[in-house]
């Protein structure tokens, strides 16, 4: 075999636009032409408008081509793509020089799309397991201190300092403790957890192993939503590979430490992303939210101390250990340290994954990275932070992306999902959808959320039908107020965010008189 390597992604979003058939076609065409090569099914680089994006290794670096269809494959070979020639119209040049990628600050996603996701050797060749090796030489308190010092906050939405949770679990004595990874990723517009599990799963395995050793937990669960069959399969492959290589199981790397990892599949419930509902689900019950306290860190899974973190939170830890807390903390602004893998989705020309330090603005993301709307029409509203996040009008697109700056305007950064809507969007319809979603997904434990969401849909319908519009707007605001203050969890407590932001910033969509901004 020559040294030639061709990369065709196995990420779901690449498969969804034909990557599998392109891979098969490349193999056929190469066989016909007598070209010998190695094929790696890598993760996606996250430039989804270019998928399937095929890469070829050359002495100068990897060269990218995309989006490649099966009909392009013969042409690509004719144009010398197997040797990395860049004359074909689909040639994108050196992958690393593509501006969208080059301008990013990829820490957690540094290996994404580069390595073979389930190859431990490839992972190690790219700084993988450097963090675990370092952690094995430290005392548990020292590992936890690194996480504390890094300033890492939970990436799953609530942004709680990760190190504090770790410390609580470490300090709580118990015969059995657990690490639970929240891979429920139910928010619309988010896919960084999925990409991690499909494209660099060993990073999550390593992060959870470090968490186990630091807190004294010997068993971990990854709770993955059922909508992600490919992520489930790749995680299972990665776990088996890590076990076979001695990085997981008994006596990890001869250290005497033990950590077992298992994947559990969810069953299509949004609220099961809430950490206590997730624990109920793992215990084999209906995924209904538990009142806190007790905190899961003290009384969690099967009543034992349990560390629950999001995929990206845990996946950030190997690098923090490998390079030191300071290295990570030096990225970011204010109390939002490090980087966030942001996800550009919806009506956007260049949708994909953008990992940047906190502090970037939405406008930069929408235009410098995203290239504006996919439809070519003006962008009207952007929902940041999932279905419970506010709709931000243009006047708020220059805020730095930072947990506190967003909270100050009633927004949320959440899991970093950014969903773009152009000027054809009807914000009263989206507000109605937010209430409807809450009604479908509510766990039913508390009245404001269970009943309020259904009432919310009805009231918005009346407003949209101009049935006592002004009175019903007052009623809607009152209802939102009750939900915000009377709900047990953020499902009922935050559903009013998209609704109220739509009402406040886009009153015309509700048939209301637009306030004269100049007069104010």
């Amino acid at each position: 075999m020559s040294g030639l390597t061709i990369y065709v992604p196995r990420d779901s979003a690449a498969l969804a636009v034909g990557a599998e058939r392109v891979a098969e076609r490349i193999a056929q065409e190469a066989a016909i032409r007598g070209v010998s090569f190695g094929m790696v099914r890598n993760g996606s680089r996250g430039l989804f408008w270019l998928e399937p994006m095929v890469e070829v290794s050359t002495p100068a670096g990897r060269v990218a081509y995309g989006p490649v269809t099966i009909d392009d494959v013969a042409d690509l070979f004719d144009a010398g793509f197997a040797e990395g020639a860049q004359t074909h119209p689909l040639s994108l040049g050196l992958t690393d020089e593509i501006p969208y990628l080059k301008k990013q600050e990829r820490l957690t996603f540094a290996r994404m799309g580069i390595t073979d996701p389930v190859s431990v050797a490839d992972y190690e060749a790219h700084e993988g397991y450097a963090g675990l090796r370092r952690a094995l030489g430290l005392k548990p308190e020292e590992v936890v201190q690194q996480v504390l010092d890094s300033g890492l906050r939970g990436r799953g939405g609530a942004a709680f300092p990760a190190g504090i949770k770790w410390k609580t679990v470490m300090a709580t004595p118990a015969a059995q403790k657990y690490i639970v990874c929240n891979a429920d990723e139910g928010d619309s517009g988010t896919f960084s957890d999925r990409m991690t599990m499909e494209g660099d799963p060993l990073m999550l395995v390593e992060g959870m192993t470090i968490a186990g050793i630091a807190t004294g937990a010997t068993k971990g669960y990854v709770y993955i939503r059922s909508e992600y069959p490919h992520a489930i399969a790749t995680m299972n492959e990665a776990i088996r590979a890590a076990e076979a290589a001695g990085f997981l199981g008994e006596n990890i790397l001869g250290s005497g430490q033990t950590f077992w990892l298992e994947v559990r599949k969810g069953a299509g419930s949004y609220v099961c992303g809430e950490e206590t509902a997730l624990l109920e689900s793992l215990e084999g019950k209906r995924g209904i939210v538990r009142a806190k306290p007790p905190l899961p860190a003290i009384t969690g899974l099967f009543g034992q101390p349990t560390l629950i973190n999001n995929v990206i939170t845990l996946a950030s830890v190997p690098l923090i250990l490998a390079r030191g807390a300071e290295y990570y903390r030096d990225f970011g602004v204010g109390r939002s340290r490090g980087t966030l893998p942001m996800q550009l989705a919806g009506n956007i020309k260049h949708g994909g994954l953008v990992e940047k330090a906190f502090g970037v603005t939405l406008r930069e993301l929408l235009y410098d990275y995203g290239g504006g709307s996919a439809s070519g029409r003006p962008i009207k509203a952007v929902q940041v932070g999932g279905p419970l996040g506010a709709y931000l009008p243009e006047s708020q697109w220059d805020l730095p992306l930072d947990y506190e700056a967003y909270a100050a305007v009633g927004g949320t950064v959440g899991h970093g999902g950014i969903v773009v809507h152009d000027d054809t969007a009807d914000l009263s319809k989206l507000a109605r959808y937010a209430m409807e979603f809450c009604a479908i997904e509510s766990c039913g434990k508390c009245t404001p959320c269970r009943i309020g969401s259904t009432r919310g849909v009805e009231v918005i319908d009346k407003i949209r039908a101009d049935n006592k519009r002004v009175e019903h707007v007052i009623l809607l605001r009152d209802l939102c107020n009750t939900m915000v203050h009377g709900s047990l969890c953020a499902m009922g407590g935050m559903t009013p965010f998209p609704v109220l932001s739509a009402l406040d910033h886009f009153p015309q969509d509700f048939g209301l008189v637009v306030p004269d901004r100049k007069a104010a």
């Binding site: 069953a267 419930s269 949004y270 215990e283 989705a345 919806g346 929902q383």
Partner: protein
């Protein structure tokens, strides 16, 4: 499959999962993967296997959208209805699918070949609108590409 065959399959799953703590969800997944659904007549057996009441198991099955108590058609289509897909025409895609299959969401197509279901995000939001057929992802869908895809799985007129 006869009822007794179904029960035998359920018992097999219960034996395989006997040692696992909190195994009800994995058990229900295994049963649904093996039989295509969770037959109501198997609930008592499952309940006995995990030492819960029949009502508790029923409560779990009905709580989760993923579990079904009646068989699906040969092919299951899920169309994402969440915000990112909406911004790229998911509503129109679903409406087209309903027309083409001759059923509404949660229903079976006229020819009995397809089950149509709504989904709330498939993680393909940067390539919306998105759907799956038999769990395989398809993105950047249009009514035309929908028709072409469905045609590959047998016609439904």
């Amino acid at each position: 499959m006869s009822e007794s065959d179904e029960l035998a399959a359920v018992r097999q799953v219960l034996i395989e999962r006997a040692e696992e703590p909190g195994a009800l969800l994995p058990i229900l997944h295994d049963v649904q993967d093996a039989l295509g659904y969770i037959p109501p007549h198997t609930v008592t057996t499952i309940a006995e296997g995990v030492n819960l009441s029949r009502a508790e198991v029923h409560g779990v099955i009905t709580y989760y959208h993923h579990f079904r108590s009646a068989p699906a058609a040969r092919h299951v289509i899920q169309i994402c209805r969440a915000e990112a897909c909406q911004s790229m025409g998911a509503d129109a895609l679903l409406a087209h699918a309903e027309l083409r299959l001759g059923c509404s969401a949660h229903g079976h197509s006229k020819d009995g070949n397809f089950t149509l279901e709504p989904a709330f995000c498939l993680g393909l939001c940067a390539s919306s609108p998105a759907m799956t057929i038999n769990e395989e992802p398809h993105a950047r869908m249009t009514p035309r590409s929908f028709d072409a895809l469905v045609a590959q799985y047998g016609d439904c007129a």
